[in-house]
């Protein structure tokens, strides 16, 4: 009898709690479902259609996907995106870890000043950053060519963005400067949280600076490294503004990335279905890579 009353009461409590929870969630869920989940589903759905402006969509099954892998520009874009990711992710991680390891035990003001400085290119915004880099890369008036030729590193002026040998590397350089800010902040805080008793014990045992880092600190900041790997990978895959504003994918498609090609397909050629299929592929690639990075990091610790 008492038991029955109890379960009845607790069931009522659960119901009340659930109702209250959903009322709190409602405003946020509304925006989440309408402006994130619904478009995500539509993205997958439309990728099976021949979809463009001003007419009904035609169902074509996997044709978009099949065509994609015969599209040389797409494969080129995939290759360029891979180069960007493979070069920039390790570079960003290594550089930010190094900077963080030097600045994290500095006095508060110095440390936050450095953090601020390395974050500046992110805050400045991709458009402002791109505009000034375009000038610095300029063939005639650019400061890079001036410094290069004056110091004797370059023989003649180089048309940085107009030369398919250099254009992609120019993009990667800017991407690098706009990517290290967040990892540095994360590493500084992770290194600050490393268990000091372990470090001291190792020092007593006579560990070298090198050992101290790899044996004691590195395992402890592993979760941060994983997080940084994932966000940097996602960011590098999404590299768009730099390409659109600097090279528009040229010269000769040498700087096409998937993200830029999606934009080009959707908003210049209005091939929505095809562009969405690319979006799905991109999402799958990122999901698989994140999963792999996660597994790797887990097996290491």
């Amino acid at each position: 009898m008492t038991n029955q009353v109890y379960t009845k009461r607790s069931r009522a409590l659960v119901r009340r709690e659930t109702t209250a929870a959903y009322l709190f969630l409602l405003p946020s869920l509304f925006f989440f479902v309408v402006f994130v989940i619904y478009p995500m589903i539509m993205c997958i759905y439309t990728s099976f259609f021949d979809s463009t402006m001003g007419r009904e969509d035609i169902f074509i099954g996997f044709t978009n996907y099949v065509n994609l892998f015969q599209d040389e520009i797409f494969l080129g874009a995939l290759k360029n995106t891979t180069i960007i990711v493979v070069v920039s992710v390790p570079a960003v991680c290594a550089f930010s870890l190094w900077v963080a390891s030097v600045i994290y035990d500095m006095k508060g003001a110095a440390c936050s000043a450095f953090r601020c400085i390395f974050y500046l290119p992110v805050v400045t915004g991709s458009v402002a950053v791109t505009v000034v880099w375009k000038w610095m890369y300029n063939n005639y008036y650019g400061i890079l060519n001036y410094v290069g030729t004056k110091t004797g590193i370059l023989d003649t002026n180089i048309n940085w963005l107009g030369d398919s040998r250099f254009a992609l590397w120019c993009i990667i350089l800017i991407l690098f400067t706009t990517s290290v800010g967040q990892p540095i902040v994360l590493y500084v805080s992770a290194l600050g949280n490393v268990d000091n008793s372990l470090v001291e014990a190792a020092q007593v045992d006579g560990a070298t600076r090198f050992q101290l880092f790899w044996k004691i600190k590195w395992p402890q900041i592993m979760p941060t490294t994983l997080y940084i790997l994932v966000i940097t990978t996602i960011n590098s895959f999404q590299c768009f503004a730099l390409i659109q504003l600097l090279t528009s994918g040229g010269p000769q498609h040498s700087t096409d990335t998937i993200m830029y090609y999606i934009y080009y397909m959707a908003f210049t050629l209005y091939k929505y279905g095809y562009a969405n299929a690319m979006g799905v592929i991109l999402a799958i690639i990122i999901a698989v890579l994140s999963a792999i990075q996660f597994k790797l990091a887990q097996s290491n610790t």
């Binding site: 402006f35 539509m42 458009v127 994360l186 959707a266």
Partner: protein, 307 residues
């Protein structure tokens, strides 16, 4: 011997980092000084490291480039009733340089997105962390998965959706998806885990209702988290160029970043004008960042502490 070697390593590292710090600030320096250099200095083959003469011609050109009403207030949902599906304007501001309007648009967009995100995420994050309800795990998994997916893949369906809702080419088409992005909920959820259950329990025993508990007890405790989220959302929305590019067509609704990007299309080699625009876009957001730097750093590091 060992100590000195450590010191030498440290000294060399600091010197190298200082060089990098210089290189990282240089583009910003070049933007600001470039905005005030005369044409001859900008288009000279030998760059002027420090402007020999400060001029404001580029800003004047930027201001006279395009005109737009300083503000336009719409009747809410008016587009559903107007014949052409366009918003109905009931109050138009005086004519002003378009660049000023872009700045106003950007501030409005970032502030609105920030407020909406903070309110909705604070409520949802708290519920997700502290309430036991049916569907909690599923919802949380969905949020984490959505966060890992690239935002840009949803943009094409989003454009169609916005034009169906008559929101395409209005500032709301940029604000709403930013609010829907679940990062904020995730952040506040992580932060709310720290609220002790006993406090909530004793509030309930004292007879405080859900809303009262949230406003008087929960909110003061998650305030630092909300502060971090606010500054984070503000800066991210301000700089979300891709979204602005595909959603905003008419020059009256452009943001400052988008305006500068479009100017670059028209005057691709007028670097003075472009630097003046870039200065206008960058200075406000950098100021905000430096003032609230502490909260911002907190927001970044909190997001990384995964549950």
């Amino acid at each position: 011997m060992k100590i000195t070697r450590n010191k030498v390593y440290k000294f060399i590292s600091v010197v190298i980092i200082l060089i990098f710090a210089f290189l990282f600030t240089f583009p910003l320096y070049w933007i600001i000084t470039g905005a005030f250099k005369p044409y001859e200095a900008i288009n000279s083959l030998t760059p002027e490291w420090w402007p020999s003469e400060w001029v404001t011609t580029h800003f004047e050109k930027l201001m006279s480039n395009r005109k737009a009403p300083l503000w336009e207030l719409h009747i809410p949902f008016g587009s559903f009733f107007s014949e052409n599906g366009k918003p109905i304007v009931f109050w138009e501001g005086p004519e002003a340089p378009a660049a000023i309007r872009w700045l106003i648009n950007t501030v409005f967009m970032a502030v609105t997105a920030m407020l909406l995100t903070c309110v909705t995420a604070a409520m949802a994050g708290y519920a997700l962390a502290k309430k036991r309800f049916v569907g909690r795990t599923v919802l949380f998994t969905l949020i984490v998965c959505a966060m890992a997916l690239p935002k840009q893949v949803i943009l094409i369906p989003l454009v169609r959706e916005m034009s169906d809702l008559n929101l395409y080419n209005t500032i709301w088409s940029v604000i709403f998806p930013a609010v829907g992005w679940p990062f904020g909920v995730f952040l506040i959820k992580q932060f709310s885990e720290g609220i002790p259950g006993e406090i909530l329990e004793s509030a309930r025993i004292d007879g405080a209702g859900e809303i009262k508990t949230f406003i008087n007890i929960v909110f003061p405790m998650i305030k630092p988290g909300v502060g971090a989220l606010a500054i984070f959302t503000f800066i991210n929305t301000w700089n979300d160029y891709f979204m602005q590019l595909i959603m905003l067509v008419n020059s009256e609704v452009w943001t400052i970043s988008l305006g500068i990007a479009k100017l670059q299309g028209e005057y691709s080699t007028d670097y003075g004008l472009l630097m003046a625009g870039a200065t206008m876009a960058a200075i406000p957001i950098i100021t905000v960042f430096i003032i609230f730097q502490k909260y911002f750093t907190k927001g970044i590091t909190m997001g990384a502490v995964k549950g």
